[in-house]
């Protein structure tokens, strides 16, 4: 699908976030880490809150996580999403970094069965020829 055909918003990467989206395109989930002390953080920032270092690294993680919370949107503030209601939005804590919360959507699952604590797996969605965004599937054991 071209950018023009995709109906929803797409990410506009910047110098801090480009590696995240480049990795997504490779179907990898990466989290920014401090190049000095290794502290993981998201969204990406330029300086470590732990040690003050401006060295930046990236860690590839498994893509397994836990559903931290969710909403099911029936009335959206975003005009581009109005045809999609109701739709879910989830917050996910990756297994390797439970203090980090990633937003996403759970696909191929009944919204009414979403529950805090469900095991999730990253699903790399190639929404345009240039863009891959990260959604989530409920892990087999929890389906």
């Amino acid at each position: 699908m071209s950018t023009e055909e995709y109906a929803y918003l797409l990410p506009q990467p910047d110098s801090l976030t480009q590696p995240f989206w480049d990795a997504a395109k490779r179907h990898e989930l990466v989290i920014q880490e401090c190049g000095e002390c290794g502290k993981l953080r998201h969204p990406p920032v330029g300086i470590c809150a732990e040690c003050g270092s401006e060295a930046i690294g990236w860690r590839t993680i498994s893509g397994r996580g836990t559903l931290y919370s969710h909403v099911v949107v029936h009335q959206t503030a975003l005009p581009s999403w109005s045809a999609a209601v109701p739709y879910n939005i989830v917050m996910v804590t990756p297994d390797e970094a439970p203090e980090i919360r990633l937003y996403g959507n759970v696909i191929d699952f009944d919204d009414s069965k979403l529950k805090v604590g469900l095991s999730l797996v990253a699903a790399f969605d190639d929404v345009t020829s240039d863009d891959t965004i990260i959604r989530w599937r409920v892990a087999d054991a929890d389906v």
């Binding site: 910047d14 909403v71 109701p86």
Partner: protein
């Protein structure tokens, strides 16, 4: 300066709303006037309430979000202020509802200004829609940058969706249901029915709440406040000067916050950080608090505050709020005007004004002589809490909080 030095040395001397002939309550979906007019109406009304010549106002504190308000310079000059000694334009959200009062009190306590106007003014429904944050992500372009590149791309925008995550997690982890939230909503509405200022004044049942449409699950319509056009204002001065003015002063006993310290999870409020300090600073116990006005953009928010202040344990607010406990004659009267959900949404600031009225004993209601401070306590007409001496006002998620005391 220790927190105790500050205690009870400053006071709220007057309050005001942006009322007009067309809009006697002040809260509406369409004010029909510009924000400066709203702000100055409320400010003049606060001065009149205090018995203060508006030209004596020599300082101002305001807060705004998305550049949706008018700054202090314009308002002070519209009041004819002759010597401006203090002016602060805070940029942020409901975290400043209590903090704006703290800041004014500090300016007065330190002698920087004598009469500080505090206001929140917005055409939050007909102008810049305050609950729709993130709705214009991308500005018409297909791509979004900044933090939105990790959120809006999944359909996230607006207050109900952003705060719905807190509510859902709280509910799933502690067995709280939408029906429990309905009990909170019904108590608030039962107070709003007796508040002539309130936008929502028709009776509400548990069933009405449960059958109302879902905005963003877990929130039903009646869990949510509505965007509002309004201005609310107050005059802060020294306790001594306030005693020389028209109305019985309401003392500012203590205040903390403005920003938030980290909390472990999104269902936690910042009261777990500042609650005990606030009580100690005011020199009061939890059981001394007669009225609680917590920021209720959504029903679960004040329930979580009740738990985090320590009135009950986590997950127990659903039981605490039942059986009239938060009613006007209960242990902890809450949202005595109907809260933000029913009176209207002045970004939390109207909750502070309500606390002031409860402590003065002149809550506006259906009693014939409410304005003289004569209340019937007939709960069909009257929403004045009996003999309220101490009130707690908490801003969004416990970001700031103040304790007020009648003089």
């Amino acid at each position: 300066m220790s927190e105790q030095d500050f205690r009870d040395k400053t006071a709220i001397a007057g309050i005001g709303y942006s009322r007009s002939v067309e809009n006697p309550g002040g809260f509406s979906k369409k004010s029909g006037v510009d924000v400066l007019t709203l702000a100055v109406r409320a400010a003049r009304s606060a001065c009149a309430d205090a018995g203060l010549d508006p030209r004596e106002v020599d300082g101002a504190v305001m807060y705004q979000m998305f550049d949706d308000s008018v700054r202090t310079g314009l308002v002070l000059s519209a009041l004819g202020s002759r010597k401006v000694g203090y002016a602060s334009n805070l940029v942020g959200g409901g975290n400043y509802a209590s903090f704006a009062v703290i800041q004014a009190a500090q300016a007065v306590y330190h002698g920087i200004a004598n009469y500080v106007l505090v206001y929140r003014a917005l055409n939050g429904r007909s102008g810049i829609r305050i609950g729709h944050w993130g709705a214009s992500a991308g500005g018409g372009l297909p791509r979004v940058g900044g933090e939105s590149q990790f959120s809006s791309i999944y359909g996230l925008a607006g207050a109900a969706s952003n705060h719905g995550f807190e509510a859902r997690r709280y509910m799933d982890l502690y067995g709280v249901t939408s029906l429990d939230l309905a009990h909170f909503a019904v108590n608030s509405r039962s107070n709003a029915i007796k508040n002539p200022r309130a936008m929502m004044r028709t009776p509400l049942t548990i069933e009405d709440h449960q059958q109302s449409r879902i905005i963003s699950d877990p929130y039903h319509l009646f869990d949510c406040c509505q965007e509002t056009d309004v201005a609310c204002a107050m005059i802060v001065t020294s306790a001594e000067r306030a005693r020389a003015l028209k109305k019985r002063p309401v003392l500012i006993s203590a205040g903390i916050g403005g920003g938030v310290s980290p909390v472990p999870n999104i269902e936690d409020t910042n009261l777990i950080n500042i609650g005990p300090r606030l009580l100690a600073a005011a020199g009061v116990e939890l059981s001394d608090i007669d009225v609680f006005e917590g920021y209720d953009a959504f029903t679960d928010m004040p329930m979580r505050m009740i738990e985090d202040m320590g009135w009950c344990k986590r997950g127990e607010a659903k039981d605490f709020i039942k059986d009239g406990r938060i009613g006007l004659d209960g242990d902890l009267p809450s949202q005595t005007h109907g809260g933000l959900i029913n009176e209207g949404y002045c970004h939390g600031f109207n909750n502070v004004l309500e606390a002031v009225q409860q402590l003065r004993g002149d809550a506006e209601d259906l009693c014939p002589n409410w304005h003289l401070g004569e209340h019937t306590y007939d709960r069909k007409l009257c929403r004045q809490v009996r003999d309220a001496e101490i009130a707690l006002n908490v801003s969004v998620l416990g970001s700031s909080a103040i304790i007020l005391k009648r003089d």
